[in-house]
Symmetry: C2
Subunit: 228 residues, 2 copies
């Protein structure tokens, strides 16, 4: 196949190494975007996430993958960055302790900066309001408010060229995300969802994220290739 | 003097080492906030800025000063982070090349994360719409849109405790900022405004920022202690 990549609109896609953002990258590519994958090294306890992000970016056709280091993990307050806090193994109705303060806002803001430099027309994020209903920054009204702010914040926005903030899986269930990703050829064996993996990426099976993933594969009537 | 600092509301104050943010820190303190100073190491060409930020934070009563490293300078696109681009020495009607893509959005987002962890009730930023009218993210409507987004993004916001985004000098001229800061005891000799200083912090006198500063001191009928 030959293609002229210069004719495609650019997009920045936030890629974490998890299942959701891998699916979103495949969606962005299927919509005809040239994809620049962006991962954040924010002091997450588990470095293996960033290795998985690199694999996912390459396998799903990103033209470039960048890891931006940012020290927000040092602020504390989340079990995902603070070794003093335990990752819970039971669901909760409150905002979970795995919530990282302002994480999606920081990630989208950094993506916005890169999008400006790339003259990109979209930013893709794997926010999901169904399985992460406890995270305030995974709700559609949050994404809309970020869009309004981004339009006012940027050179492009001021000049009338909106950088669209796209959250294409925000209303999908985990099983629908998995079915969509499988139809787009995503290899979920590369992805890691566990909040508490070993250094080699062995999952714990008991954290919120492991349990939501397992239920999603079961409901999609599919086998999780990461567990084979 | 004795005081019970625990009774004061917390605030995060963005401090760059420049004149505007030094003034804003003094304003925040004068309004009774306990101030946590935050600077960003975003790959600015001139490291001396961060040394000045440290001086300013200490001299103006911050209880803590943090420097968060974030690699957005690697994206390029600005004369303030990219050595391949020259800092201009003449004013322009366009968005200046010294504009760093999405800078205030990234800075405010990181401040928002720290504010959540500190349970702070305000974030202060030295955005100014008068002398930096070419920067989209220095306008009041931008700050308002960030506020709306922040209310939806955060645990506090969801629980009804707004983290107020305060830009107290946004409508002031440079001379009014200087007069206000002098009345609050700010030592502008510690601050650095130049876009193109030497490693020791000697200013160039010809960049936009030097010229705006010199005109501000002249109009305020004051001597710039940094030049004495």
């Amino acid at each position: 196949m030959s293609s002229n990549t210069f004719s495609k609109p650019n997009s920045v896609v936030l890629v974490s190494g998890g299942l959701d953002s891998a699916t979103v990258l495949a969606i962005a590519k299927s919509q005809g975007y040239q994809c620049y994958a962006l991962s954040m090294d924010y002091g997450q306890r588990h470095r293996v996430e960033l290795q998985r992000a690199q694999l996912v970016a390459e396998a799903n056709g990103a033209v470039e993958h960048r890891i931006v280091r940012i020290d927000i993990g040092n602020f504390g307050g989340s079990a995902l960055t603070d070794n003093a806090l335990d990752v819970p193994t039971e669901a909760s109705d409150d905002i979970p302790i795995t919530y990282v303060p302002a994480r999606n806002t920081v990630f989208l803001s950094v993506a916005l900066g890169w999008a400006e430099v790339l003259n990109a027309s979209a930013i893709f994020i794997g926010a999901n309001a169904v399985d992460y209903s406890g995270y305030p920054d995974c709700r559609p009204e949050y994404i809309e408010s970020f869009q309004t702010m981004a339009n006012l914040a940027t050179k492009q926005g001021v000049q009338g060229n909106t950088i669209e903030i796209k959250a294409p899986i925000i209303d999908l269930t985990k099983s629908d995300i998995i079915k969509l990703g499988l139809s787009l050829g995503v290899d979920y064996g590369q992805t890691l969802s566990c909040y508490n993996p070993s250094e080699q990426g062995q999952v714990c099976h008991v954290c919120d994220s492991c349990r939501i993933r397992a239920a999603g594969f079961a409901e999609a009537d599919a086998e999780d290739p990461a567990l084979v």
